[in-house]
């Protein structure tokens, strides 16, 4: 257990308790099903630093220590090592709700529920029956608290960024003509796991001209392929993303030209990523560069949906970055800014970096040079 982590976990609980006090909620019951998802915040992990193996709940009373209910009795030691000051309760997947409700009845009322976006119908029906009422809505309490990274969280995102760099280096070193896409993805995965990643929200696809990024298939790499890499390792629960393009061979002048446009767009987007600015400004700056180059129609759906998104522990604020997004950037938000783009002449190319928003602007958390990569390059 790292003392700094324990302090931060206490801080998070205190923040939630402050909201409970002002909202008139006695206890917040937080549910997560254990289905980790890079685009969804896991509130149980955020509160306890435990990546659960199955369904779990955290009960946070308006005052006093929380309880963490896990559904594998053999996994409680791992839960206790995280630094959480929550009382760890060994439950079972078939008893989670009955155990939680029994404990909830001894805690301050009324009860609100956070987790309706993850709690299956059958589980909710059991909760409702055992509580003999509908819990209050509590889904909006945690996400705003999790919008910015605390120091130990940021350190993990930074490490995830370094691992992403290692993953892309593996692509550059190991991609070969004749290799299947999934074999290349396996090499990247193994490289990043060895470097400390426990997971990867990764997509690697290739082709002479691609429509968009996609998962790896059994297709064999061919000379001239454009290998699209969205590399997103998870380090101790926190994700960072690197988007780059690798040409298996020598890039065509057109590919080099388009990539120059994307690099200019990324610089423009980064310049707009400052605290107090709306995220829409990032998308507008990126789209302005690409539109000026003659590709305005490809800056809209179905070709393009977002120019980045919040990323850290699952999807967090500022969520998707597009011209109509309304979030305002804050100090210590972490996100990926990616002017990935389809253009007819080259197909889809990927270009993007993980950043943390600081007072002076964004700081890159991925260090891979911003350029087009190709095989046999010095």
């Amino acid at each position: 257990m790292i003392p700094a982590v324990a302090l931060e976990l206490d801080q998070k609980v205190a923040r939630v308790q402050a909201v409970l006090r002002t909202s008139g909620i006695g206890t917040l019951a937080v549910y997560y099903g254990g289905q980790h998802n890079a685009s969804r915040l896991d509130p149980v992990f955020w509160l306890t630093d435990l990546r659960v193996l199955g369904p779990a709940m955290v009960l946070i009373p308006v005052a006093g220590p929380p309880q963490l209910l896990v559904t594998q009795t053999w996994d409680t030691a791992r839960a206790r090592e995280t630094g959480t000051h929550a009382t760890v309760v060994a439950s079972h997947k078939h008893q989670l709700i009955s155990d939680a409700v029994r404990n909830l009845l001894d805690l301050p009322q009324p009860v609100a529920l956070s987790g309706r976006s993850a709690m299956p119908i059958a589980v909710y029906e059991e909760l409702q029956t055992r509580l003999a009422l509908d819990p209050l809505a509590g889904d909006d309490i945690i996400p705003p608290q999790a919008a910015t990274r605390l120091p130990s969280e940021l350190a993990r995102v930074e490490r995830a960024g370094q691992i992403a760099d290692e993953g892309f280096r593996a692509v550059c070193e190991l991609a070969r003509v004749g290799m299947r896409e999934y074999e290349l993805a396996a090499e990247v995965d193994a490289t990043m796991i060895a470097a400390g990643a426990e997971d990867n929200f990764g997509l690697i696809g290739a082709g002479a001209s691609n429509v968009t990024i996609r998962p790896p298939t059994d297709r064999r790499l061919e000379r001239g392929d454009v290998v699209m890499c969205e590399i997103t390792p998870c380090y101790r629960g926190y994700l960072a993303q690197l988007c780059r393009t690798f040409v298996l061979g020598t890039p065509t002048p057109q590919q080099a030209h388009v990539y120059d446009i994307l690099m200019t767009a990324e610089h423009a987007g980064l310049a707009a990523a400052r605290p107090g600015h709306p995220t829409a400004a990032i998308a507008k700056e990126i789209n302005a560069v690409i539109s000026k180059a003659g590709y305005e129609e490809y800056c809209k759906p179905p070709y393009m949906r977002s120019r980045g998104h919040g990323l850290g522990t699952g999807g967090v604020a500022p969520l998707d970055i597009n011209e109509s997004s309304t979030h305002v950037l804050e100090h210590n938000m972490t996100m990926v800014i990616h002017p990935n783009q389809f253009v007819p002449e080259t197909g889809y190319m990927m270009c993007g970096d993980m950043v943390v928003i600081e007072d002076g602007g964004p700081r890159l958390l991925t260090q891979t040079p911003l350029r087009l990569f190709w095989s046999g390059q010095a």
């Binding site: 289905q35 796991i193 060895a194 429509v211 998962p215 070709y303």
Partner: protein, 377 residues
Amino acid sequence: METLHSVLKHGAMYSDWNAFPRSVFVERLSATKRAIRDSGDDAWIVYGDAQNYGELAYLTHFLPRLRSSLVIITPSGEPVLLTCVGSRDIPAMQVLTWVTDIRPYWRLPEDMAQFLADAGLTNSRIGLVGVRESMPIGDWDAIRRNVPGVRWTFRDAEFGAVRKPDEATARAIRHAAAVVDEGLRAAMTFFRERPTFRAASAEVERVVRRLAAEDVRILVGGAPQNGYQLRPPDDAPILAEQSVPFVLACEVQRCWAEGATTIPGHANRPQERILAETAERALSAMVAAVAPETRARSVWDAAMRSLDEPNLRACAAAYGMGGGIGLDANEEPEIVEDGAGSFASCAGVALHVVLQRNRDSAAAGTTLVRSGAGFAR
């Protein structure tokens, strides 16, 4: 065995149409349509998410890598697959399914309501499969609000009667089990060569993902600093003298298989050896007890009878002893003390025994596949 779910299925995403020819799905779909007609419903919706998608994959061969997907089946029409991606992602989804009508959605309650309206189903009777156990209550409430005229019925039991273990699934589980075996063999090498659980597990993942695993789950134990218990691989050092229980599950072509073994330490201490042999003996007892008509509790009893120490029985019980496996990593019936379900509808059965005594720990596990009138390793 329940393990750490990944943030995305990021392995080999393609379809082996030789292993799963279209005719397999046409037959499954026909049986489902007959069941829909028998139920009197106008349509069924079969739902799955990134963790539980067996029913959906059975009909479509599709698996949601993230979030959820569903297929809508009417008695006379072609199936329609709704999946949570952008429209530009549809070509990549097409390689994962034989269903040709694939539509993207971003917000399920709104987009599903629109689909039902377009299909003339807003005042219909719709059966639901996989929804009650997996769909989040938030989405469900919104869907019901958006299409108040639909009369919904949960049809999991009816679909369960349709879903039969067939040779295509059994063959795919067998293939996944062969990949697991390769992974277990690799573990025997790499857990002797690499310094940490994480480094050794990385090599195992490399091996099985290069063999086209779509998803991989690892649990590893025996580290003194971890109390010898199983957990996802971490930076605990591998001690040469310590034995390591190792559990591996792999998904290949939508089908899961699982295995477990004890990687012996260099010290080869008698206590370690005896514990590993005890786990293997309990596993053998379970293997011998599994048959299609067997109740899950009988398999449990077989294991418990072979474990003569109460603390070993308690340990095995805490870790669980397996259950059905196939298109989901954890299927019914679960092997528990009072398990009344039989294995009649299982294409595969995963069995494992994890034991711990003082500073020794051991694991043994295998996947049985439906073969003729019984199951085979």
